[in-house]
Amino acid sequence: MKRSGRRKPWMLAILVMALLLSACGSGGDPADSAGAEPEKSGEKVKLQMWFWQGAAFEKLFRSSTG
């Protein structure tokens, strides 16, 4: 059987889906992605802000600002 040499619509759909998934990222460890081009949602600038909390307060010797 001869290949047509042209992508079928369903192949394009898969390609677009893969690109979209890749752009969304994993939502995992921010350190893995920070420093790269900042995420944008439309014209919105997303700022990643790291907080600390919790454990230190439980240990009493430090405040818990976050």
Partner: protein
């Protein structure tokens, strides 16, 4: 009310609402992890966030890389200086550069069980306590009376007293050139001598606040411990850990001057592609109005004295504390805190000493003086191998 939890994060949605073009996305880490991750990112030159929160005890290890963070004066931060306590503002300066904006502070006070003090025939009202226990010798004497009359320890651990006296000094463990000065710092020697006195007098417990919190909490809740020397945020600790003692606690000025325990800063790493927006966010989040809002929501004490006149600090009584207006006391002592430099290796040394001295507190056969200086040697070795 649970204090000191989730402070700034609670007002981020409001910033995002007011600034539709910007979205601050908080990422929460444990205290240790947050600082380690940031340090790793700084060293690697990649992976830093747009905005980072750093605790005061860790701040100097980041400030030693001033080129890795924005000088906030580039955005006009110098115009905000008057909004903040001078000592807190200066803590994040390197030369003329302003590398961070201050969050809350932790002015230190003496929390005490008024009922146990009264039972022992000691002064029990805050003004009387401050007037009659003006120095640490008087504090130890009160501890002796308290132990005899009530059986309670005046301290959870003699190291708590060591820490309070250490933090009252002009210097801590390092000088301006990062030289370890423990052996020549008279305040550290004084702190150690009072650790030893409290231990020998048998008026301090051996509760491990760092690693055995349930046991410590149970002792606090059952009246075995009569004081807690801590920061403004520490009241939440007492309320959470000792709920059965509601109404029995008060707070007074600590003998021989206050100190500061805790509080953080927000920095903007140079890696960000949106420094201007990041500055807009932190300058809004830490402005006096927002610090007041966070204080109302969580109890974190503001670093912006213009809000100390708010009713929250002048007129609000706290039921757990017998109706005492704690804000008045916190605001008063906040202005007396000295600027101290911790240095980038402060926590390394402090972890070695505090863990080592905890073992000494528990094991009465150990000589604290010998052990303390051995720990200092251990710290020196660790610093040399760093």
């Amino acid at each position: 009310m649970v204090l000191a939890r989730g402070g700034l994060r609670k007002i981020i949605p409001e910033f995002n609402r007011l600034n539709p073009g910007i979205e601050v996305v908080p990422q929460i880490y444990k205290w240790e992890d947050a600082h380690k991750k940031l340090l790793t990112a700084m060293s690697a030159g990649s992976g830093a966030p747009d905005i980072a929160m750093v605790d005061i005890s860790q701040l100097d290890q980041f400030l030693k890389y001033p080129d890795k963070f924005y000088d906030l004066n580039e955005f006009g931060a110098q115009e905000l200086a008057g909004d903040y306590l001078e000592w807190k503002w200066k803590q994040s300066m390197v030369g003329d550069k302003q590398l961070a904006l201050p969050t809350d502070i932790g002015p230190m006070v003496l929390y005490y069980r008024a009922d146990l003090f009264e039972q022992a025939g000691l002064p029990s009202e805050p003004e009387e306590v401050a007037a009659q226990i003006q120095n640490w010798d008087q504090f130890l004497e009160a501890g002796k009376v308290l132990k005899e009359k009530t059986g309670a320890d005046i301290l959870s651990n003699p190291y708590e007293l060591y820490g309070a006296i250490r933090d009252q000094g002009d210097q801590l463990y390092f000088d301006e050139e990062d030289r370890l000065i423990i052996e020549e710092n008279p305040q550290i020697k004084k702190a150690l001598s009072y650790y030893i006195k409290a231990r020998e007098m048998g008026i301090a417990g051996a509760y491990d606040q760092k690693n055995a919190l349930p046991e410590y909490s149970a002792a606090l809740n059952s009246g075995k411990i009569a004081t807690y020397i801590s920061a403004a945020w520490g009241r939440g600790h007492v309320e959470t850990r000792a709920p059965d003692t509601k109404g029995k606690w008060r707070a007074a000025k600590i003998p021989e001057g206050t100190g500061n325990m805790g509080g953080s800063f927000l920095l903007i790493p140079k890696e960000t592609k949106h420094a201007k927006e990041a500055y807009k966010a932190i300058s809004w989040l830490l402005a006096p109005e927002q610090q007041l809002e966070v204080a109302k929501l969580t109890g974190n004490f503001p670093s912006t004295p213009s809000v100390y006149g708010d009713e929250l600090f002048t007129n609000q009584g706290f039921e757990f504390w017998g109706g005492q207006k704690l804000g008045v006391l916190f605001a008063e002592v906040a202005k007396d805190v000295k600027v101290q430099r911790k240095g980038p290796n402060y926590q390394t040394v402090e972890d070695i000493i505090s863990d080592g001295m905890q073992a000494v507190t528990v094991d009465k056969s150990k000589d604290p003086e010998t052990e303390f200086w051995a720990l200092v040697e251990k710290a020196k070795t660790k610093l040399q191998n760093k």
